[in-house]
Symmetry: C2
Subunit: 242 residues, 2 copies
């Protein structure tokens, strides 16, 4: 094989950090590797990119095969290409993250076979390959995005309470937020629709339900606009392992 052909002794893959939000915690969907290398370890879902497949499509496919979900928020973060990141050859991987409504997630045959499981971000241990690094990069990107774009709603069911929304932001940003200031700011953005419905069957005063105003948001974006959120002083942070 000539030197030139060596350039083609390589492959590319995508890895997808699938985020969900449940029980007040930000979670990530990992699979337990059934084969070498790193057999038995937890890893990010991923696959080689098919020859006639765009990168975004590959990331979407990985997600759909695992969760059955389509039309989901998906964002490319970075490429990881250290020479020895894959023990079997030169594989560059492109990292994506997705945001899904965890309530929509059902274990599919594919995910069952692969032993997919949600992990709280704080409880993720050493992963296969360089997946800790990839997870961390994606998490940092999410943290940044959530401050400037209303992507948080992608993680919540269509109807949610303001407290649920606040807890989501607190989990992602690893901070505490002042309830009154949070509500004031969120409501002043005019991106929530008050549904005139309330929670049912809770052992306390039921909260009003809201919906994200997708169309209104898209209109604002077209007109050029920014979404920002800052933190208050509270609550410690749960660091992510390296």
């Amino acid at each position: 094989m000539t030197e030139f052909n060596n350039f083609f002794k390589s492959a590319f893959s995508v890895d997808n950090v699938i985020f969900g939000f449940d029980e007040g915690d930000l979670k990530v969907l990992l699979i337990n590797r059934g084969a070498e290398p790193y057999k038995g370890m937890w890893a990010l879902p991923g696959d080689l990119v098919y020859p006639n497949e765009d990168l975004d499509s590959a990331a979407g496919r990985v997600l759909e095969e695992l969760t059955g979900l389509r039309d989901v928020y998906l964002e490319q973060v970075n490429a990881f290409g250290a020479v020895n990141r894959h023990p079997l050859g030169r594989v560059i991987t492109v990292a994506y993250y997705s945001l899904i409504k965890i309530s929509n997630y059902v274990v599919t045959p594919a995910s069952f076979a692969q032993q997919a499981k949600w992990h709280s971000l704080g409880e993720v241990n050493t992963l296969a390959f360089d997946h800790n690094e990839i997870l961390n990069a994606c998490y940092q990107r999410l943290k940044q995005r959530v401050r400037t774009r209303p992507v948080g709603f992608e993680l919540l069911p269509p109807k949610f309470t303001l407290t649920e929304l606040q807890h989501l932001y607190e989990a992602i940003l690893e901070t505490g937020l002042d309830k009154r200031n949070f509500r004031k700011k969120i409501l002043s953005m005019n991106l929530l629709v008050d549904l005139d419905e309330t929670q049912e069957g809770v052992a306390h005063r039921p909260a009003k339900l809201y919906q994200f105003a997708q169309e209104r948001y898209e209109k604002l974006v077209r007109e050029g606009f920014s979404f920002e959120l800052k933190e208050s002083k509270r609550k410690p942070s749960s660091p992510l392992p390296a």
Copy 2:
């Protein structure tokens, strides 16, 4: 060739958007392609990634071969992998941008052979491959970075005036900034060292020279800190062609 081997009929490259600042304008270093495909068109400098080379190293190598410069600000932006982005095969490219002090740039034999030339961002026309898209992605990233990290200094000579710095920000952000507010904010960050020197040979009151306080900045970063800058109302923008 088996289906599996098809995965290896592909290559990856890096492309490097090299930014410089001169004559009050943000510039990008392009090369005129001497070979097919896209022969004769302007393109971003780039190359295939060597089999035993990390992505960052490849991007650094492209820069060094063209400019002779090392130890330069370099940031990965994104991977571009549309199936048909390269007419000769499946090539995924990883986009980087670098910030160089344009005064340090000397035409090297390699760059001469390749007809390298600085282009003002506003005067870039249709480029080879998907390089307009890549350029735009890198420019957007730079725009964002410059608001939150003091990377602007990478584009200026070691000693600069506050007006030069302001013009740099105005060029990158495509906006106008109020002189007094800009100075107040920049100086209040305590990231500039007043060199007690002034310009010479200018036909007006000579300006004081400043230096970026690298060490002080790194200390602040270690202690956790943010660098921010907002715009005022002025000046139109010079859009970047799609």
